[in-house]
Symmetry: C2
Subunit: 319 residues, 2 copies
């Protein structure tokens, strides 16, 4: 590690937090004072685990830490707790407090003397036509904090908009924005001649896309129509190929904000939280400005902070 990082540790003792998603595995050894004593991130996401060898994959990373620090509690969250993961943990229904998540934890005791704690995901059963679900983001929301009444957006492949009120996660809704962007930018005819994104987003063009999504009224506000503007803008000579992906990015994130605004998640002038570490926060921050929002930044470590908060509740209950 180059820098000594530190996070609030509600548990107050050493622990290991494992954030295990579809595409990546991130393990952190947290000191009693919250200092990050060790950290390792790999591409060993659950979709790459063969023959359910989850334990071997995890222990290869954390066994050395156990040797140095003794058998620590291991707090696991993310898609590793799904049906396709290691231990399927039933979802907790909204509204949910940290103590509700704590009650839903499932434990396993591997042979090396440690205990694994699998955190539950969250479901919003009020959604139509089917209940909505999240796994991992609920820890980010808890880490962000539930004290203030606030709408929080968690950018990602499947972005979540959540409402926090009175110490609970009250409701949430998924928008598949990141997936639509990835599909259109990689495989579509619409963006076929688009130049390489290279991560160098043209912010001005991106904000143009977001403004189109916000400001267009009438027939042309149809989402399935607006996507065509990536191509018609190029045909009209108003977008050059190197701008098409920035424009598309602003357009689809802008569409998410427009749809979230229409759904009542915010009104212009509101303050919202943005929580995530998926490289998307910068884009969401700029689009939020197009929608005249004040922003509370959730930082990069919200998932770890939340996992420790939930585990602290479990620890209190078990004593």
């Amino acid at each position: 590690m180059n820098t000594v990082k530190s996070v609030p540790n509600a548990y107050g003792k050493k622990a290991i937090v494992v954030d295990w998603g579809t595409t990546s595995l991130r393990c952190m050894l947290i000191g009693a004072d919250g200092r990050v004593l060790a950290e390792q991130e790999s591409q060993g996401g659950i979709q790459f685990i063969q023959n359910a060898r989850f334990e071997a994959e995890l222990m290869a990373v954390i066994d050395p830490w156990m040797v140095d620090h003794g058998p620590l509690p291991v707090i696991a969250l993310g898609m590793v707790t799904s049906r396709n993961g290691w231990v399927e943990v039933p979802y907790i229904p909204c509204p949910a407090a940290p103590s509700d998540f704590a009650k839903g934890i499932l434990t396993r005791e591997p042979s090396n003397g440690s205990t694994l704690y699998f955190l539950p995901g969250l479901t919003d059963k009020s959604r139509v036509p089917f209940p909505d679900v999240m796994r991992g983001e609920e820890a980010q929301i808890v880490g962000f904090g539930l004290e203030k009444e606030l709408t929080i957006v968690l950018p990602g492949t499947h972005s979540k908009w959540a409402r926090v009120t009175a110490g609970k996660v009250d409701a949430f809704q998924t928008f598949v924005t990141g997936e639509i962007f990835a599909l259109l930018s990689q495989h579509s005819f619409i963006a076929k001649v688009a130049g390489d994104d290279s991560g160098d987003s043209d912010w001005e063009v991106m904000c143009h896309g977001a403004r189109v999504a916000r400001e267009t009224e009438g027939q042309d506000s149809a989402f399935l129509t607006q996507l065509m503007s990536v191509r018609t803008g190029m045909l009209a000579g108003e977008l050059v190929p190197s701008q098409m992906l920035s424009y598309l990015s602003g357009l689809v994130i802008g569409a998410e904000f427009r749809q979230a605004m229409d759904a009542g998640w915010f009104a212009p002038g509101d303050r919202i939280g943005i929580v995530g570490n998926d490289g998307l926060n910068g884009r969401y921050r700029r689009v939020a400005q197009v929608f005249e929002l004040d922003i509370e930044d959730g930082g990069e470590q919200a998932a770890v902070v939340g996992a420790l908060k939930i585990f602290a509740e479990k620890w209190v209950m078990s004593r």
Copy 2:
């Protein structure tokens, strides 16, 4: 040919119609009485033509017809008239009558004594943020008929909704429904565990998806949220993998109809035309019923009929 087909031939003499799109090339030899004397369809779409060898590709098909019937006029339409095609023909602006398309025709005279007539596409400059465009569908609309005031939908990768009134194509709007379906069904995480579609659409499940798109109100009506229901329906045990693509198909076509309805293209109880031969008409017909629409079927040959109508106008003008 197994069956003798016939189409109305407004031109009234023998001609060759070439419908040349991105992925396919279709050539038809039409008799003076409209009988289809010969027909050949290949995968030689313009995206597969190397080094601009359009003439060689076309003549390989139609030279034998010329040997038998003399140097006939060749009427070409579709993406072959685009910037990436053979001869770029400027778009005609809405509102446009057949005579307007006829005036926009560009001609070329290859060495074998025939004359090639390249039909123009159509643009709707009133669209925001950029003018909308079509190439090929305008001939289908003309072939369908411009006499009655009517909304016409042309299903496809990029579906078109058009308004026909007083002998003209008055306005149109693109919806990228087919492309979204293709991307989600082939590449997405949302439909990752979906079973093979195999062309056997489960109509009941498809109509369920369409009803979700039509009937959902409030927060859950957000399009980027509804797409998630393909996955949450599976997680909830309400959709089995073999149903996911039928549900998705109904959901996205239903979203197109919902957005078109909100955009004023129709109201429940209206009569609309459905024109196309992309294997999608059956799906669109069923979704139209979910939206309580009466349907006028445009048949499979509308493009050829329209091309002959437009060419007949050119012929009248040139005499």
